[in-house]
Symmetry: C2
Subunit: 337 residues, 2 copies
Amino acid sequence: MNLTGPALAEGPETARIRAFLEGAGAAGGRTNPAVTVTLPVGDDAAGFRPPDGAQVVVSCDASVEGIHFRREWMTWETIGYRAAASALSDLAAMAATPVGLVVAAALPPELDVETAAALGRGVGEVSGRVGAEVLGGDLVASPGPAFLDVTVLGYAAAPTTRSGARPGDELWVTGELGAAAAALSDLERGLEPDPRARRAFDRPRPRIDEMLWLRDRVRVHAAIDLSDGVMRDARHLAAASEVALEVEADRLPAAPALEGFRRAPAGERLLLAGGEDYELLIAVPSGAMQGTARAFAVAFDLPLTRIGSAREGEGLTVSGRSNPALPAGFDHFEAGR
Amino acid sequence: MNLTGPALAEGPETARIRAFLEGAGAAGGRTNPAVTVTLPVGDDAAGFRPPDGAQVVVSCDASVEGIHFRREWMTWETIGYRAAASALSDLAAMAATPVGLVVAAALPPELDVETAAALGRGVGEVSGRVGAEVLGGDLVASPGPAFLDVTVLGYAAAPTTRSGARPGDELWVTGELGAAAAALSDLERGLEPDPRARRAFDRPRPRIDEMLWLRDRVRVHAAIDLSDGVMRDARHLAAASEVALEVEADRLPAAPALEGFRRAPAGERLLLAGGEDYELLIAVPSGAMQGTARAFAVAFDLPLTRIGSAREGEGLTVSGRSNPALPAGFDHFEAGR
C-alpha cells in the first residue's frame, strides 16, 4: 500500500498521492457508524472490522483510457467518479453495505498533481455518497494510457447473488434505462449529449441504499447490476440461476433522454443493449413487490418497474416491441448476442 | 467483478479470464481452514467470513510493464508471481493471515490466452504457498504497456503497524539482503544474473509464516517489508514511529549472491538501497529475541539478524562500513536520500 501520509519520502509521486487523498477527503460525505476503520491510509495495509456475523464482500473494476473512458469526453473528476461508481455498483448488486475502497492508478508522467486531486475528488464524491472510505491504493507512473482499478469492500450477513432466481419469479428493474448509452452514442459521434443523458453518464448512482431498503422488505432471490445492458446482464442472471428469463420490451423504463433516439432502431438498441446505467435487475417471488414498488418510488423518487419473469428453461427471450416501427431484422437481439 | 465462470458470454476476453483462473487453480497449494470463502469467483463480488474478532486487512500493489517489470527479463509466470508476492508481503508486514486476492490486469491485445494462463500460474503459485485464494478480478484489453494490480485481503486480531517502534527497541531483519537488487543490476546491464540472485528476484517469499510465528512468540512493536531497500524503508519506519533508527552496516546480512559486487561501492549500494527483497524489518523490545532468533533460524532455515536499534530522535543513521574500501563520498547514504 503506497497511498501514505507524512511518513513517505517527498517526491513527485508522493505529491500526487497527497493530492489524490486530499481530493478524496475534501469530497467528504457520510461514514458508516456500523464499521470501524481500524487502520486508515498510511501503513503497509489498511484495516477495518466488519460487524459480527457479517461476511466481507469484495469486487474490483478496471478501466483503461481509450477503451473505457476518454479524456476529451469528461473531466478527471468524472473519470474517478465513474470508476468508483462502477465498482460500488457491484456491492449494490450483492446487497452489501460498503466499507471502503482501494484505488490503483497508473498515470502518464504529464498528468500532474491537479489530475490526481481531480481523480480523488471524483472517487471521494461517490464514495462519500454511499458511506465508503478511501482505504488506500497505489499511484504509479506509466508511459501508456491512464489506467484505473478500484477494489471495493463491504459486508453483508447474506449477500444476494446472481444465482438465486427461480421459475415463477418476477423480474424488476430500478430507475430508467438507456440514458448513459444515449450519452455515449452522442459522444462517439462528436455530439454534445442531452443534458439529462450527460448527467446519467457522468454521475451514475450505485443503488446501494435502494438495494438495502429492498432487501429489508422483500425476499430478493437474485440481483445483478446493469453494467453491460439489460440483454447481456439478464443472460448472465439466467445462466447463473439456471432459469429462462422473459423480458417484455414494452415494459422497459426508457429514460426520457432516449426520446431523441426513440424513432430509430438505435433507440431500441440503446435501451436493450446499452450499458453503464448501473441500475439493478432483481428477481423476487411472484407478488412480493405488492405495495413495495410504490413505497420504493416514494422513498427514492425513482421508479421500480416489473419488466418480466423467470420460468423453467434457459436463456433470454425478449417479447414485444417498445418501438413498433422496428425492422424485423432487429430479431437478432432475441436470438442472442 | 469480471473473473467469472461459465455464466459469462463467450469471447476472447472470457477465454483469457478462464485461462487465468485455470492457471491459478492448477497451481494449487494450501488453503486456510480458519477462513470460509463464502462466495468464490463468479458473481458480482466475492465473499469471505473472517474469524470472529478479527479485523480485515487490505492492501494493493500496482505494476506497469517497462517501469516495474520487463517482458524480456522474465516469463509471464514470474511477472504474475512477483506482483502477487509484492502485495502479499504487505500482509506479512502487518502480521496478517492471508485470505485471498483480486487481480486486475490490462493486457495488450496481442497477449493471448497462454499469457493469461501463465500470469494465473504465477499468481496461483505464490498465493497457494501462503494460503491465499484467487477471489476474483478483472482482465481488460489495453493498447498500452501491460498493467497489473493485485489487491490482497487478510485478517489479524491486532495488525502490526510501522508506527509502534520505541526508543530502546532492537531492529531485526529476516533473511538475506541485496540478492534481488543484484539480479536487477545485472539485468539492467544486459548480464545474466548469478542463479541465486535470479532465484531471489524471480521468486521472492512473502514472509507470512515467519511473521505469524514471530508474532506468537515475541512482542513485535513495529514492522515494514523491504520493498524499497533497507535505507528507505527504515526511514519510513522511523518517521511513522517518531524515533531515530541506527543501522549498523556491518551487521546487515548480505546475500551470498552479492559477493561479486562486494569489492565495489555498487555492492554497498545494493545492500543498503536495493529493493524487492521483501524481507521484513522488525522492531522488538530490547532482549526480546533472546533464544527466539536461533529457534527462528531452525524453524525456517533462514537467518534472523539484529541490525540496529531505536532511540529518541528522528531519522536514520547508518554506522560502520561493511566494505572498508568504500570511498568517503559514500556518506551520502548517511545524510539521507
